[in-house]
Every structure is written in C-alpha cells, then in structure tokens.
C-alpha cells in the first residue's frame, strides 16, 4: 500500500471517513452479537428489548456507508487500491448488516425460552457463539491492520465453525428427543444455532473481501467445510 496521500485532500478524507464508519459499524455489530449470545446463554429476558432496538443503529450505519460509497464513485472514479477499498467496503457493510440482523433474530428468540435448559446444550451453544465472536473480532482486526494472514486464517476457520455447529445441533436434537413438550423450545434453539452458523458464513465473506482488497486476487479453492449437518428438522 502506498505511503503517499492523495494530492486532493478531500479525496483522502472521504476514503478515511468510509474506513472509520465501517470500523464503527463493525464495533457495533460485535457488541450486538456478544450481547445477544449472552442473553441466550443466560436466558436474560430483560436485556433483549434493548438489543432489538439497537439494530436500527446498524441499519443507519449501512445507509451512511452506502451514501459515502456513491459519492466516492461519482466524484472520484477511484482506481486500483482505492477501487478495491470502495467496493470491499460495500460488501463488508452488507455482511455486517446481515450479522446484525441475525443477532437481533437471536435476541427475539430468548423470551419464549425456559429457564431450565440442559447445561450441556447451553455450553455447546456458548462455545459456538464464542468462536463466531472471535472470528468477527479477528476479521475486523485484519481489516484495520490490513493483515492478510489473519484474514486467511479466519477464512480457514470456517471449518471449525461448521464443526461446532454440528455439535450444537446434535445437542438440540437430543433435547428434543428427551421430551415431546420441548418441541417449541427446540425449534427456537435450532434457529439460534443456524443463525450463528450463518453469521459465521458472513464473517467468512468478509474475510474474502478483505483478502481481495489487500492482495488484488481472489482466495483460491473451495471454502473449507466441516461436517455436514444432517437435515432432520
């Protein structure tokens, strides 16, 4: 990347603003994800309203970034690294918004849950959630520090997310088979598990965008896949 800054100062500022806004959006998404996971594990029904309302802020960030990108394209006709930065910011913001939506969806699922869920189930969900949180944190790090290797590692770790999803899903199906009365609860928990997996996918998308941004090439090969979940729902 270049040490020089743009001759036109306002161009430099616009790119920097986009970068900063995206980082703020990422930070908010991180905290939404973490809060919603906490609420699920602790079955904390009071905190969920706040989490659900906060999702609006993420959407506002999305609009702001959209506007910033439109302006950059029409004013500056960005080239090379600037072009890649701009387009990546667009894709990353989309993925972050989806992650935010998934966090909100998980928060919504807390109220109907019982207080006496099996411990193992909750631990498996916690492990999965913490891994996804870590992935998000690492991928946002790699964006800030332009860490190519870190992005690649996040991308490869999607395999582990798949594995943990499989384990968590099995816990849920066990829970269901214990007692037919658990059907409602199990359904919610399946959605929660699935949401966490999809959040992981979006994070992997972000990793791919960051890789292309830095290297100028696409990540080669298939995404690593963990154990497939047998669809028995």
């Amino acid at each position: 990347m270049s040490e020089e800054s743009h001759i036109v100062k306002s161009y430099e500022e616009e790119l920097q603003n986009l970068h900063d806004t995206l980082i703020q959006m990422g930070a908010l998404t991180e905290s939404q994800l973490s809060d919603s996971l906490d609420a699920v594990i602790k079955v904390d029904k009071e905190s969920t309203d706040k989490i659900i309302n906060s999702d609006q802020k993420i959407n506002k960030f999305r609009s702001k970034i959209d506007t910033q990108i439109m302006n950059l394209l029409v004013k500056r006709a960005p080239m090379a690294i600037d072009l890649r930065s701009t387009i990546s910011a667009l894709k990353i913001s989309q993925d972050l918004e989806r992650i935010g939506d998934l966090a909100k969806s998980n928060a919504k699922k807390v109220k109907p849950l019982p207080y006496d869920l099996p411990d193992e189930l909750l631990q498996n969900l916690r492990r999965l959630g913490e891994l996804v949180q870590k992935q998000l944190s690492e991928v946002l790090d790699s964006y800030v520090n332009k860490g190519l290797d870190k992005a690649k590692t996040v991308w490869e770790n999607d395999e582990r997310v798949d594995d943990l999803t499989y384990i968590a899903m099995n816990s849920v199906t066990d829970f269901l088979s214990q007692d037919k009365k658990n059907l409602d609860f199990a359904t919610h928990l399946i959605f929660v598990t699935k949401n966490l997996e999809r959040a992981g996918d979006h994070i992997t998308n972000i990793a791919e965008s960051i890789y292309y941004l830095i290297k100028g090439e696409y990540l080669k090969g298939q995404r690593p896949k963990g154990r497939e979940i047998e669809d028995n729902v």
Partner: protein
C-alpha cells in the same frame, strides 16, 4: 488474449535532445489491431516516444535516437528506410486539431494525391467518401465538401484529421491526446470511433485521462521521467497494478 501479434516493438530505445536525455532504455511492444494507451505525468516522454514511431522527431535538429524501433520486424531508423513511406504507414493525429486551410474534400484528398494512390476523380471521390464515413463525419459534411476544413467545430475538425490520417491507408495510427481540446460529447464520439477503428488499425493513444485510458485501450503503459515503469493489460493496470509508482499515479497520490 486474442490479437497478440506484435506490430511495433522498441528495443533499448534512448532519445536525447542535445545533452538532455528524454527516454531511457524503453522496451515495449504494441500489438496489432489493438489500442495501447500511454499514460504518465507531463514531460515523462510519452509524446517523445510516439513521435519516434513515425520519425517526426527527425524534424527537430538536436534530437538523437539510439536503439531500435521495429515495425513488422524491420528497423525504421535504418538508413535505407524512406521516411515518407513510413509516414504513409504510420499516421498521426495531434492534440490540437490541425486541418489544412483547404476544403474538406482537399484535406482528405491531399495525402492520396501526393502518394499517387488513385487514378482518377471518381476513385478519389469514393476514397474521400469512405474515409469520411469511417471517421463518422460523412453525414455531417456530405453537402458541403468544398467548404474550408476550418469552418467545422472542434470535434468535427478532429474527426476530419482522423479521416485525413486514414486516407493514405496506414497500418498504425498514433494519437497524441486527441481529445484534450474537445468537449465531452465530441470526446465521446471520438472514443466511439477509436473502438471502431481498432478493428482495422493498430492504435497508440497518449492520454492524460485515466478514465479514457480504461475505456478505450486494451493495454496500458505507464511512463515516468523517461522510463517505462510498467506495461500490462488495462484491466491489470487499473485494478491491481504491479508497481507502486503506477498505483500512486493513477490514484492521484502524485503526479
């Protein structure tokens, strides 16, 4: 890459104006029936380079050319090469439109006349019509061929100059910032024309507009201070250039 046949290649080309060196060891190839754009900051040597291809630098007394430029394998600076015939094969369009102060018809007829290309008036009429059609100017001027070339608008004048360049049936057309004196619509028409022309001619275009280079060319070369820094497909140069200097230039970090 389909048309990869090399039309023009320069080998260790060094150009001096008196004691000042303008080009340093330039090695590049231009492919046939393709548009190659040359970009770079002012004074970097791109105009000097293209003027070597049709030996317009011969006109400048203190200019000295070392190294070789080959067209279809033959060195154009050889003693035996006739400059006039070379310029029949390599045409040029200049930055500021410079139609002859003659009628539109005569502007185009001049080249073929002095080269003895056509036999009679009918053939000449046909040739003039063809050239004007190829330059997308025929419909606008067909009713006033005897009016002076200088009575046209800027964009039309430039198209007239292009028609004049192709009147002697060249193989290569050199364009030195052809649109820099024109308004956006005239520019768009010329870019459209270049797209058409590249089916028949090899084109080299010097331009200061990155966006134009992207729109118009298949390969782009970046010059800086007399050296060719990088040359590659246009896509590569503008999406992910290999050299930092290239990137700095095209993104506006220096220039």
């Amino acid at each position: 890459m389909k048309n990869s046949k090399v039309k023009i290649s320069s080998n260790n080309l060094n150009v001096y104006y008196g004691n000042k060196q303008a080009l340093f060891d330039v090695n590049l190839t231009l492919n046939e029936k393709e548009v190659t754009a040359l970009i770079g900051p002012s004074g970097c040597g791109k105009s000097t380079f293209i003027r070597c291809i049709n030996r317009m630098n011969d006109v400048i007394e203190i200019c000295r050319v070392e190294g070789s430029i080959k067209m279809d394998g033959m060195n154009i600076n050889d003693k035996g090469v006739d400059v006039v015939q070379l310029r029949e094969k390599v045409g040029m369009v200049f930055q500021k439109p410079n139609p002859f102060p003659k009628s539109i018809y005569d502007n185009i007829a001049y080249g073929p006349t002095i080269h003895g290309v056509v036999q009679n008036k009918n053939q000449m009429d046909e040739l003039v019509e063809n050239c004007l059609k190829k330059a997308a100017l025929w419909n606008e001027v067909k009713d006033r061929l005897q009016e002076p070339g200088t009575s046209l608008s800027g964009g039309q004048q430039q198209r007239l100059c292009i028609a004049r360049a192709i009147s002697v049936n060249p193989e290569v057309i050199l364009m030195d910032e052809p649109c820099s004196a024109l308004d956006p619509i005239a520019t768009a028409k010329i870019e459209e024309l270049i797209d058409e022309l590249r089916k028949t001619y090899t084109i080299v275009i010097v331009t200061h507009s990155m966006a134009q280079a992207v729109r118009v060319s298949q390969r782009t070369g970046f010059f800086h201070l007399g050296k060719l820094i990088e040359i590659d497909t246009t896509e590569k140069i503008f999406k992910n250039p290999g050299n930092n200097m290239t990137q700095d230039y095209i993104t506006g970090r220096f220039g």
